[in-house]
């Protein structure tokens, strides 16, 4: 490195262009959300509007009940989901990591087989709707994401590699029960892996729209992503949101196009804000995920 401290400018140029191509679509959507509706209908979407106009955001603020409720659903589901998921997953991983546990191989296979074979969408759908009857409840959004074989194995690997067995042994000699060992020794020592898996679980709950698409009809239970999905694909739904915001302005053209994009921005906004802080863990998680557990 001493001999060659400068990076080839062509490489920097290429990577800059690549980074721009990753970011530019977001920029376009943001610009549409702050473009005057008349400009939009005349010139279409563009990367730099002739007239900035925050009208769409004013609309959304005026009646924010829809978005606030969707945020509430998403936050509730995400918090409950990630806490329960981490507990269940790590407890199982702990049992799997204990060498003296005689059923660990059988249990390991039980987990592993779920990664190889799946019953498919239809039986899965029937289990939740005809057997558990959780359609149109928040449980339908929480339960499916609670456990995954991959996460169990990643945490198990962390337990076996990073927590010395002697620690568990000495806790046992001191008379600690397995529960106590797990809760007050293992869990505090596993913060790194819990943070990584936890972050991924948060992102997958936060970004989930599929379970809503399949299980949710009640508008009050729309998660943030599903609300967005509806707004994009269903013009009358978008219209109804705009109408709720200003029901008395029937003659004024509603900035439907920019409202739509403003909704996307309201949903992405917080995410983009926390992203730089989480980026490090996210990258760590990606590379953990790539290596076999």
């Amino acid at each position: 490195m001493k001999t060659n401290n400068r990076t080839n400018p062509l490489i920097i140029l290429f990577l800059t262009l690549f980074s721009l191509s990753c970011l530019i679509p977001f920029w376009l959507v943001f610009m549409v959300s702050v473009t005057n509706e008349k400009d939009l209908t005349r010139h279409g979407y563009s990367f730099w509007p002739n007239h900035f106009d925050w009208e769409a955001y004013r609309y959304l603020l005026h009646d924010s009940a829809n978005i606030a409720r969707a945020y509430g659903v998403t936050i509730t589901v995400t918090i409950i989901g990630v806490v329960v998921s981490l507990l269940i997953t790590s407890a199982m991983a702990y049992s799997l990591s204990r060498t003296e546990f005689p059923y660990r191989n059988a249990l390991g296979f039980y987990v592993f087989f779920t990664m190889l074979f799946s019953g498919g969408l239809l039986p899965w759908y029937l289990v939740y709707t005809r057997f558990l009857h959780v359609q149109d409840t928040l449980l339908a959004l929480i339960i499916p994401g609670l456990i995954g074989g991959f996460n169990i194995f990643i945490i198990r690997t962390f337990f076996t590699n990073s927590i010395p067995p002697s620690l568990v042994e000495s806790a046992k000699i001191d008379g600690a029960s397995e529960y106590r060992t797990y809760f007050s020794i293992i869990l505090p020592l596993s913060l790194p892996v819990m943070a990584t898996i936890g972050l991924f679980t948060i992102v997958s709950y936060w970004n989930d729209w599929f379970t809503s698409l399949v299980f949710i009809n009640n508008e009050k239970l729309y998660s943030l992503q599903y609300l967005l999905n509806k707004t994009l694909m269903n013009a009358s739904f978008l219209q109804s949101i705009a109408n709720k915001a200003y029901s008395n302005t029937a003659n004024v053209t509603q900035p439907l196009e920019s409202i739509r994009m403003a909704m996307a921005m309201v949903a992405i906004g917080p995410l983009v804000f926390v992203f730089p802080f989480l980026q490090k863990y996210f990258i760590k998680g990606l590379t953990v995920g790539a290596v076999k557990g």
């Binding site: 990577l15 679509p25 376009l28 039986p123």
Partner: protein, 324 residues
């Protein structure tokens, strides 16, 4: 000796008894670990095992009023319908072709990106590039649908309004024209996933022993030579493993991509329908459960066989990278 059976039989029964006892004792002894695992066991049972038992539905004419158990058995009727319509071959072809193209483009670009990212010496700059690269992976497919719509909205979208119209060309009704979508979906998929893969390969490159490069520099090897003779060969095992694992999943399409990016437009089906969207539509849009269950079972079984085969191959190449 044969006459002495009673004692042997006695021994045997007591053997079984002690064995039973020891099983019980073992269960009791390890009850804490069993209890810790039980919530997970139950969740996997509900979410994964119960649906597996449900695969027999592919051989039934599912009738909600008769119930899951009461529905009539119809043998391979559902499969006959599935293959009679030509849909089966179309969705299989689409799923495999899309995944294959995605895999080739994604891997090539990701390796190239990883090598370039590894060359960036300034920490801040490298962090920025990496952040930008994985941001698309961080957002949901719904958001991706919005981003695509920003470009392709037929009336106002960037491409029609700011590129095609000013050039005097005719605008395109993107969401009604199937022929463009293989390209669009490839671009969108690459945009969404290539950064992630690049970061994975970058981790592999960073793990390469620096001594190789030092030795190469002393021998006067150029950057290009170092790249082709050290970096690429040394990460080839990772490339092979990740590629094989992707091949194992080649029968499973990314539902989100094909559903959200196309805005679920029915007019695009002839180029965008894959197994996953087909099963979804059959189950929840048209309500044809026979097609949904038979296509789903086909996907599960072929997918399972692929994973087993791929694992066998991976095991031959490098044992420690095999799944099992």
């Amino acid at each position: 000796m044969a006459a002495g059976n009673p004692s042997i039989a006695q021994e045997r029964t007591s053997d079984i008894k002690t064995k039973r006892k020891s099983v019980l004792r073992q269960l009791l002894k390890h009850r804490a670990l069993i209890i810790l695992a039980i919530p997970g066991i139950i969740m996997l049972f509900i979410n994964n095992y119960l649906p597996m038992f449900g695969i027999f539905l592919a051989f039934k004419d599912l009738n909600y009023t008769k119930g899951v158990w009461g529905s009539d058995w119809v043998g391979f009727q559902n499969f006959k319908f599935l293959f009679a319509s030509n849909d089966a071959w179309m969705i299989i072809k689409h799923t495999i072709l899309y995944n294959a193209v995605f895999l080739i483009i994604n891997t090539t670009l990701a390796v190239l990106l990883a090598i370039l990212l590894n060359e960036v010496r300034r920490k801040m700059l490298s962090k920025f590039f990496q952040s930008a690269a994985i941001l698309p992976n961080f957002v949901s497919m719904v958001i991706v649908g919005y981003l695509v719509y920003g470009f392709l909205n037929p009336e106002l979208g960037f491409i029609n309004k700011s590129i095609l119209e000013p050039m005097g060309k005719e605008t395109i009704a993107w969401y009604a024209e199937p022929k463009y979508w293989p390209y669009i979906l490839t671009i969108v998929n690459t945009w969404k996933t290539v950064g992630y893969s690049a970061i994975v390969y970058l981790a592999a490159i960073v793990g390469i022993d620096q001594e190789y490069y030092e030795a190469a520099r002393i021998d006067g090897a150029s950057k290009w030579k170092q790249m082709t003779s050290i970096t690429v060969p040394l990460i080839t095992p990772v490339i092979i493993i990740l590629t094989l694992l992707a091949v194992g999943r080649i029968f499973n399409a990314d539902f989100g991509l094909f559903y959200q990016a196309t805005m679920a437009s029915g007019m695009l089906k002839e180029t965008t329908e894959v197994i996953d969207t087909y099963v979804y539509n059959a189950l929840l849009v048209t309500g044809d459960t026979g097609l949904a269950s038979s296509a789903g079972l086909l996907q599960s079984v072929v997918g399972f066989m692929l994973v087993i085969t791929v694992n066998y191959v991976v095991k031959k190449i490098s044992k420690e990278n095999a799944l099992f």
